[in-house]
Structure formats: structure tokens, C-alpha cells
């Protein structure tokens, strides 16, 4: 239940502005790939092109190919809704639906699409998803309470449960721990380690220790200066990137001598 992603010569635009230039990268199935790099270098922008969330913004567009097990996401006639139901996403700030209970938040992907589901199946799905997000024990007695009453870390795990409830092939995470305390961060990192047994995980992070802890492969993005496009500098095994990178810029960044 996981697919690989191959990106070929991808250029990402906001209107006429080229935000990310010429990215070619292979993301392995059932592994964790981390994107690191300075702020504004286009990591998050690039991540959002992987499930066609980029084009939600007015004027945003993409040139190039993103292949999900060989199928081009940007091919003619591809419905972005189909793409997004296969490639889930967790955002920087926890965003549970405020009008829904914890249970309904987990079932949101099913219910919002008006798919029929029996109560028994729904119970199983809620329990499996919440267990998958390591949240079941904390919320099992208050599933009917609103999701917005949880703590920030719990809300973020609720969002992960919501994402895995639709059983995607790939899960994209855009700095999922940047609004969380170290203990909640640890809970999410443990979760990522478990998720990679079943899913392909791509995570954007500002925290290099986090990238080193959770990822199998790491991609380093950089930007030449303000107004210039972001570029993929180097991608490789996390071990290699952090201990013996090929590019000087990568070595400077991971060793803290950036800028």
C-alpha cells in the first residue's frame, strides 16, 4: 500500500515568478524522505506540488512531470481530487475541523465524500486510524468531544489519523512538529518511524536533528538569493548527507556554517 514518486525536471511557478527550478528526485516507496534547507528555498512549495495542492493558490502552476508509480500526476485529464485521495498531507499547524467531533474528524475523508459506511465499519476505521496515530488511548473515552479541545500535539496526531484514515499511498508532512513541544515532537517522530512500514513518507523540516533521526534519505534545497529560484542541491542517504556530502553548500548547511 505504498507507491514511489519520481520527479523529472519540475519547475514550479507563482504566476510568472519561478519559485523552484528544475528538480529531479526519486522518492522510494516505504521509506522516509526528508527535505531540508533554509527558509524560502521552496521545500514546502515543492512538497505541495507532489499532491497538486500547489495549484489551489491563484496563479500557481507547474511544468514537468511527477510520476506516481509511473503515472504522471500532471498528465492531461488527471483529476487533482483523485491525486489527493492517494497522496495525503499533514500541515504545519494542526487544523482539525472545528465543527466536528474527534470521531468525525477521523472519518472526515470518508464522510465529506459522502461514501456510505456502516457504523461498525466506521468504528473499526476510527480505532485503527487513531491507533495508527498513537492517539487511541488518549481519546478513546471522548470520541464525541470536539477535536479543537485537544492539545496541540494531540491535534496534530488527530490530523495524521485523519490523513491515514483515507488509506493513501503517500503521506506528505509540511513541518509537522514546528508548532509542537519536544515531547509531542518525539511522539510524532516515533509515529513516522512506524508509518514507513506501510506508507511512503515525505517530510519537510527545519530541524536537521529531526531529519537525521527520522529519515532514510535526505534532500537539501538551497536558494542563491532573494528573488532567485530555489534548487535541489543534493539528495542521498541521510547518513551520507550528514557525514560526507558531495556538495560544499550541503556540508556548510548541515554543519551550521551556512551564510
Amino acid at each position: 500500500m505504498s507507491k514511489r514518486i519520481d520527479v523529472k525536471d519540475l519547475n514550479v511557478y507563482y504566476g510568472d515568478f519561478l519559485a523552484v527550478e528544475d528538480v529531479t528526485i526519486n522518492i522510494e516507496a516505504k521509506s522516509v524522505t526528508a527535505f531540508i534547507g533554509p527558509s524560502g528555498c521552496g521545500k514546502s512549495t515543492f512538497l505541495r506540488t507532489l499532491n497538486r495542492m500547489h495549484e489551489v493558490l491563484p496563479g500557481a502552476r507547474v511544468e514537468g512531470e511527477v510520476l506516481l508509480d509511473g503515472d504522471n500526476l500532471y498528465g492531461p485529464g488527471v483529476d487533482p481530487v483523485t491525486v489527493r485521495s492517494q497522496i495525503g498531507m499533514v500541515f504545519q499547524r494542526p487544523n482539525p475541523f472545528p465543527t466536528m467531533s474527534i470521531r468525525d474528524n477521523v472519518l472526515a475523508g470518508v464522510k465529506l465524500n459522502n461514501k456510505k459506511i456502516s457504523k461498525g465499519e466506521a468504528d473499526v476505521l476510527v480505532e485503527r486510524s487513531l491507533k495508527g496515530a498513537n492517539l487511541w488511548n488518549e481519546v478513546k473515552d471522548r470520541l464525541e468531544k470536539p477535536g479543537s479541545g485537544l492539545s496541540g500535539g494531540q491535534q496534530q496526531r488527530l490530523c495524521i489519523a485523519r490523513a491515514i484514515a483515507v488509506e493513501p499511498q503517500v503521506i506528505l508532512m509540511d513541518e509537522p512538529c514546528s508548532a509542537l513541544d519536544p515531547i509531542s515532537t518525539l511522539a510524532i517522530e516515533d509515529l513516522i518511524n512506524e508509518l514507513k512500514d506501510q506508507y511512503t513518507v515525505v517530510i519537510v523540516t527545519h530541524n536537521m536533528q529531526q531529519a537525521a533521526r527520522v529519515s532514510d534519505r535526505t534532500a537539501f534545497f538551497n536558494i542563491a538569493g532573494t528573488g532567485k529560484p530555489g534548487k535541489l542541491i543534493e539528495v542521498g542517504d541521510t547518513q551520507t548527507i550528514f557525514s560526507n556530502p558531495v556538495q560544499k553548500a550541503t556540508e556548510d548547511y548541515v554543519s551550521g556554517r551556512f551564510g
Binding site: M53, F91, N95, P98, L112, K145, P146, R162
Partner: protein, 370 residues
């Protein structure tokens, strides 16, 4: 007490000295009231003047006492407090005065037997003359007008809410601030400023041209009120939809939910409390319109329960005609009593709608709690 090193001073410590005592404002107020009454007695006493003079004396007295004892900073603070409270009272005065007048004049009318359950059908000047001259009960009521107001307003709401809400959804979710969206926003703003009589004339002219000359029904009035209501509904719904965080839309998109479903199931439920109270306030805004109803629904003295045919009464036009053309020109008092009674009912309706708006907002508000 010998064991304490520094004796506790009974009331005033070093930290609280140089302050006016707590009872100071009451003392000044009592003095101002007495002095005000004395001054007014010299020129001829009246309650309104007494209030004004006492308020000025109170402010001057309290501020100068404070300046003498506490210094200029505290005195300025007292002056500002006096100005703020004074402005608040002045702003409140007309409201209380209106409510008081309507209550005093309206309650006798409201208490007439059959006031809410009978119409003016067959009530002529003869009965009113008899009521004044022989002390017979005032008959006739507002049932037809109440029914008309409810029907016209309900139909206007049924027309305005879908149009207004869908326009707001287009502007916020699909317009992308394009040329069409900007044009719509501009014309909605223009519509907000349309005088109500113009809206009435438009609806009347429109139906004269389409259905036939002289078409005056409750439905025409409802269309006129919709012209006034739609911009209010568009504006309030637009604001409410705008404050729904974009993150919620993206969260739904990322789950593979289509845009229209996201709007229907995530955006609108999140904003529904604000939208509902906006709609209720828009209703309260048009329920008292007189001029557009007069030119579109005419005026009736009998019950008309069909909004699509025949002239129809409403509370504002009922009040207008009862005051302007009393049922008995010789004895206008019963008519004016009925008019005040109708005004009270109208105010109660608007208040109930406002309370309903708050209740709706609370019921639909996103739930919190752990």
C-alpha cells in the same frame, strides 16, 4: 500588638494617602443634585434641566475636588470617566425614551380584546365614535397586518437568502478577485445605498410591466424588500466566509474532497452561526419598511392569506394609515391607540428576531470543550 514591629495604621497607609475616599462620588452627586435643584428653582423647575445642570455640577465638583486632593493626573482620569459615562447616558436616552413611549402608548392598545386575533374588516368610524362617546370597547385589531408582515418578510427571506448566500460564496470561493467579482462587489455596495422607496418603485414598475398594470400583491412587496435585503445578506455572509481559515479548506482538499463539497460541508458549517445571525439582522432591518410596501402591496383592512394575489396589509403600513387616516376622523384616539399597539408589536418582533440571532449564533457556533 506590641509584638508587631511597625504598627498597622487603621485605615490610611502610606501607599493610599492622597486619595479621595470611596464615598466621594456619592457625596458630590448628592451635593450636585441639591445645588442643581436650587439653581433650577430660581429659573423655574423642570426635570430635564435639573438632570443637565446636576450632571455638569457633578463633573465640575468631582474633578476639582480630585485635582485639589489627588493631583492633576487623577483629576484628568476622573474628567475622562465623567465624559465617557455622560456620552453613554446621552446615547442611551433616545433608546429608553422610544421604548418607554411605545410601551406607555402601546400597552392599552395591545390589551384590547381581540387586538391580535381580529382584523379591521367592517370596523368603521361609527364604532370608534361609540367607543369615545359612550365608553364602548375599542374593537378592531392587527391580525391582518401581522399576517401580512410575516408572509411578506418570510417570502422576502426565501428569495434573498439563497441569492445572497450564493453570491457571497461566488465572491469568496470562486471570484478570485477577478473583474466579475469586483463588479459584483461594486454593485452590491451601490445596492446597499438604494433608498427603500426606490426599491419599492422598482418592484412595482417591474410587476406592472411583466404581469400587468396595477399589480399590487404581497409578493411584489417581498421582491421590493429582497432588493433591500440581498446586499445586506451578501455583505454579512461574505465577511463570515472570509474569516473561515484557509487551512480548513486545504485540509479538506488534501483528503481528496471536491471543492463544492468542501464549501458545503466544511466552510459553510464553520461560518453558519455568523451567516444565520447576519440573515436575522437583515430581516429585522426590512421588517419595519413602510414606503416600499405601500407602493407594492397597497393597503387592506381585511385578512388576506394569499401572498400572490390581492392587496395586503402590514404592520408599518397599518400604523401609517391609522395615524394619517383615522378610521373616525372626528375621534382619532382609538385609531392612534391601535397604531401604538401595532408599533409595540413591531418592536417586540424586532427584539425577538435579535434575540433569535444570538441564540442561533450560540447554537451553531463551533463547539469547544474537552
Amino acid at each position: 500588638m506590641t509584638s508587631t514591629l511597625t504598627p498597622v495604621r487603621s485605615k490610611r497607609s502610606a501607599l493610599t494617602k492622597g486619595q479621595l475616599p470611596k464615598y466621594a462620588p456619592y457625596v458630590v452627586l448628592a451635593a450636585a443634585l441639591v445645588a442643581g435643584a436650587a439653581i433650577l428653582a430660581l429659573v423655574g423647575f423642570n426635570a430635564f434641566g435639573w438632570g443637565i445642570v446636576s450632571a455638569i455640577l457633578f463633573a465640575v465638583g468631582l474633578v476639582s475636588w480630585s485635582a485639589a486632593v489627588e493631583g492633576s493626573r487623577k483629576a484628568k482620569d476622573k474628567l475622562a470617566t465623567c465624559l465617557v459615562v455622560g456620552s453613554f447616558l446621552i446615547a442611551l436616552l433616545p433608546l429608553i425614551s422610544v421604548i418607554w413611549t411605545v410601551l406607555v402608548n402601546g400597552i392599552p392598545g395591545l390589551l384590547n380584546p381581540g387586538f391580535l386575533t381580529t382584523s379591521m374588516n367592517g370596523v368603521t368610524g361609527v364604532y370608534d365614535n361609540r367607543a369615545v362617546e359612550e365608553g364602548a370597547p375599542v374593537i378592531g385589531g392587527i391580525y391582518h397586518a401581522l399576517l401580512g408582515t410575516i408572509q411578506i418578510t418570510l417570502l422576502a427571506t426565501v428569495i434573498s437568502v439563497p441569492v445572497g448566500l450564493l453570491t457571497a460564496i461566488y465572491l469568496v470561493e470562486y471570484g478570485n478577485d477577478g473583474r466579475l467579482a469586483r463588479a459584483i462587489t461594486f454593485f452590491v455596495d451601490v445596492m446597499t445605498g438604494i433608498p427603500s422607496i426606490v426599491a419599492g418603485l422598482f418592484a412595482a414598475a417591474f410587476f406592472f410591466a411583466v404581469v400587468g398594470p396595477g399589480t399590487k400583491t404581497g409578493a411584489v412587496a417581498a421582491v421590493a424588500l429582497s432588493v433591500l435585503m440581498i446586499p445586506v445578506v451578501v455583505r454579512s455572509s461574505e465577511e463570515m466566509l472570509k474569516i473561515v481559515p484557509n487551512e480548513l479548506r486545504e485540509a479538506a482538499y488534501a483528503l481528496g474532497v471536491r471543492k463544492w463539497r468542501t464549501i458545503l460541508k466544511v466552510v459553510i458549517p464553520t461560518a453558519i452561526s455568523g451567516i444565520a445571525s447576519g440573515v436575522t439582522l437583515a430581516i429585522a432591518r426590512v421588517i419595519g419598511e413602510t414606503a416600499p410596501i405601500l407602493v407594492t402591496a397597497g393597503f387592506a383592512t381585511s385578512i388576506n392569506s394569499n401572498v400572490f394575489s390581492g392587496w395586503m396589509a402590514s404592520l408599518p403600513t397599518f400604523i401609517y394609515t391609522q395615524i394619517l387616516n383615522p378610521t373616525s376622523p372626528a375621534n382619532p384616539d382609538p385609531s392612534s391607540q391601535r397604531a401604538w399597539g401595532a408599533a409595540l408589536v413591531l418592536i417586540i418582533l424586532v427584539m425577538v428576531l435579535n434575540l433569535a440571532a444570538r441564540l442561533i449564533a450560540r447554537i451553531f457556533a463551533p463547539k469547544t470543550g474537552r
